[in-house]
Symmetry: C2
Subunit: 593 residues, 2 copies
Amino acid sequence: MDGGSGTGQTREIDGLKTSLSRLLPALEWGREYHRGFLASDLLAAVIVTIMLIPQSLAYALLAGLPAEMGLYASILPLIAYALFGTSRTLSVGPVAVASLMTATAVGKIAAVGTLDYATAAIAMAMISGLMLLVMGLLRFGFLANFLSHPVVSGFITASGIIIGLSQLRHILGIHGHGDTIVELVSSLLHNLADINGVATLTGAAAIAFLFWARRGLAPLLLRCGLADRTAAIIAKAGPVFAILATTLASWYWDFGQRGVALVGEVPRGLPTLGIPSLDPGLWSELAVSALLISIIGFVESVSVGKTLAAKRRQRIDPNQELIALGAANVAAGVSGGFPVTGGFSRSVVNFDAGAETPAASIFAAVGIALAALLLTPVLFFLPKATLAATIIVAVTTLIDFAVIRRAWEYSLSDFIAVVTTIAATLLFGVELGVLAGILSSIGLHLYKTTRPHIAVVGAVAGTEHFRNIERHNVITHPNIVSLRVDQSLYFANASYLEDYIYRLVAEIDGLEHVILQCTAVNEIDLSALEALEAINHRLREQGLTLNLSEVKGPVMDALQKSQFLKHLSGKVYLTHHQAVKDRKPDEIEPYII
Amino acid sequence: MDGGSGTGQTREIDGLKTSLSRLLPALEWGREYHRGFLASDLLAAVIVTIMLIPQSLAYALLAGLPAEMGLYASILPLIAYALFGTSRTLSVGPVAVASLMTATAVGKIAAVGTLDYATAAIAMAMISGLMLLVMGLLRFGFLANFLSHPVVSGFITASGIIIGLSQLRHILGIHGHGDTIVELVSSLLHNLADINGVATLTGAAAIAFLFWARRGLAPLLLRCGLADRTAAIIAKAGPVFAILATTLASWYWDFGQRGVALVGEVPRGLPTLGIPSLDPGLWSELAVSALLISIIGFVESVSVGKTLAAKRRQRIDPNQELIALGAANVAAGVSGGFPVTGGFSRSVVNFDAGAETPAASIFAAVGIALAALLLTPVLFFLPKATLAATIIVAVTTLIDFAVIRRAWEYSLSDFIAVVTTIAATLLFGVELGVLAGILSSIGLHLYKTTRPHIAVVGAVAGTEHFRNIERHNVITHPNIVSLRVDQSLYFANASYLEDYIYRLVAEIDGLEHVILQCTAVNEIDLSALEALEAINHRLREQGLTLNLSEVKGPVMDALQKSQFLKHLSGKVYLTHHQAVKDRKPDEIEPYII
């Protein structure tokens, strides 16, 4: 008894351990951690930190928030994701699309630069984090599947254009606001007279340098004798060079006096922890936007995570990712940050720099914290035009119009969904863009299922196979019509099937048997069952039998629970060949098999 | 040349005639009209008129509107439907569920009994009519398919309960309002002290008589020597007897002095024509409700129309029905009526009374118009309790809890959809009830497609057929895994398939070939194509080939437009048998076919 209960206890403890390390994947990689990992993780952390500083500042600017909030959003959230996330190399923090969505949502309820604006952005991170946590606990990860790849590509492409346009004002040194392409362009044109030459020159130079750095810097460094990997990593630090150079220029030539917008005073120190605003009015105003940002952020993050995991044969768990991203956003909410998610470029840098475990992200968080403590005075002279330049160059990689061509060539419904998403995002802003994308793709899918492809089939000579009479040379019998319904039967197409069969049957003389080949019928719901009962009844009145063949296991299980099989005028056959053999006129000789 | 152009013209004129009579089906039946039809149609019209008078008054009461509006809604709308409708026997007018929905929607913006309330109800008919017309012109009839049969049954059952409860106040002679079961019951209980004995007695007697009339009257009349059909028709006139008897009693014993609510003064005469309120604020407030009422009314009407058409081997065209119901509601809107649709009980009476063509409805409209001109003074003494009794008895036929049991026995998702619809309708009212029904059934359908049934299949010995290895005794080969995916591949399940295949492949040693049997794959969209490309790439890296078999024509057409087939590591086979024969190890002897 003792031994047994001991084993039981051990088993219970093992079970507990498994559940715990599923909830807290850090326990698993933490247990396996060794010195070899430490060296790789530390190196990756240094590289990622250097890259994250300009990125964090830039995305705070994009979100319309003070620069320090970009840094705050890159400290605790990284640690939270490292503890709960299933991806070993995903890097979480402010990203372009989520920052734009934050600006759009918060801009509806407060003016940029006000305390209310910052408060709302922090609350947004909190709400989005709680929503993600709840979705994770309810195991709603499958919801991400309803955003199709083409729709996501289209949405990100259109968002990239909006982001690029929204940053042009910092390059030109003029005012200009808006959530849609029309608002942005007209507001830029309207203020074009106020253009600032120095800001424009700085921005243009930074853009030119960053584009060149992306392709030209690594080969140059190689020629200077650097190792392959070192050259590739240093080339990724282009934005850091741009920031150093323009900050220096700005200080030396006093850009501030020349009307160039600078980052200015950035409070020194770590974020203070605190509960964000719990104002129910604010929460309900932000709820829909927070849901959209959560879904988009989750889909973006999971797709990055999957891509990287596949390269090292690792797996990520979408439901646990919801919890991890939820924890990261709650962490952003309690530490004065704004909505965060897994970003593509930062994760690729982390991966390429050789990060082995999420410890790399924890070290990077420490790096950003040090930057917040020590480096902020240096940022005073940094021109906003430089940050805008890094954003513009970064988002050009998001823009992928090829998806439109691919969709056009492949399928009309994918094409319509992509074009709808892009047009809605550009013309009505990111939130309606996402909604239009989701609804149009689901709507088109459902529409297609309402008019299923139904093929009249005949036997391929000398085989037991049946094929579409319009595509193949096949044998049919005058008293039988064989139909293959290429769709599950459910409420949305039940009456279509009814109409189709009645119309077909009315056209054929001498018909005795209708056989439905159910190879492609994966479900028959109650509405479809009622339709089949009506068809059976009506055909029987006309002296015809209704037969089914090749009904799948799960469908047959369901049919057996109903009265349908008892009322069926014909039979259910295991193969369509048997059905035809059984029902065809006697005078015709049997197939030679 | 002349002859040719003459024939062309004739053909053009024929084409024009066909389009015209499709738009105005009255042209078709009008052309075939003869004296035999006239006699049947006139008789049916008399019977329907007698039945419609109490029904119209009762549904006006249910909608919270003055009695005459019930009559108005039964004149022009009948004529409009007769001209445009494709059903030969459908009878259009006020019906129970649409009247309840009108009361719910209009009650949100005005108090019962006010002029604003009536104005809003008339505008509601107009908006709903225009919506139906637009949907008809856009050929959106297929939208009705998204309301599944179980959801509609559940919704109507729950609405019937709400309607019955809402009429109890007239029977008891007390106040009591509400859109949900909780509101209704608590409001009735709260006012129970004010109960009026005479009203209750009248109502209870009417209910008892009406229930008895439904079953006992026809046999009694038969015993009195009446012919079968005459007895059945007179038995349907139960409400008329109830109205006559209680009106007489009310006049004789002066119910009005005893605190019984009477119909009172009903303006004598025909409705005046006029454009309903075009206040944009009112229209936008009513828009969502009007859309819901339109959809529900359309679905109800088409299902009645189909049932009756099937009995006489006639056909109805859903898109033309949208236009006809649209015209009927616009007619209600310009003639002081409220939303109308095709009703079940009235149509059955029309059908059973022998109506041959929609002319019967035109004659019935004339009958109601005569009643509005001549009979209204008689209605003064009619107790509202009697009308409430006819409603209560009528809605008991709507209530069908059997649908819950059928759904429970047949499929979990149908059961969830029905229960959600009923619960939402009872607890949150008709509008949220309809929405919950539509969204839950679509959501459940989509959810099921995200986790398709995937069967590992093997060959049935001695045949070319492949079946699930878990359900049948089949032959498999160690180097091949054959998968039958029981679902179309699209964005919502593409990543599920990817994960499934990677997991399965990791579990099997010595695997060389993966073959997907695509009999049930009716579509591969762009997201799924990308997933297949990823699977192909990953399997190739692991030294495995990916093969497809039995790809359907339309799917193959799509694949050929992409690069996928060029990159495919394996082949596409016409039959799964060929695929396995080609890929199995040489040492195993071939099948004997």
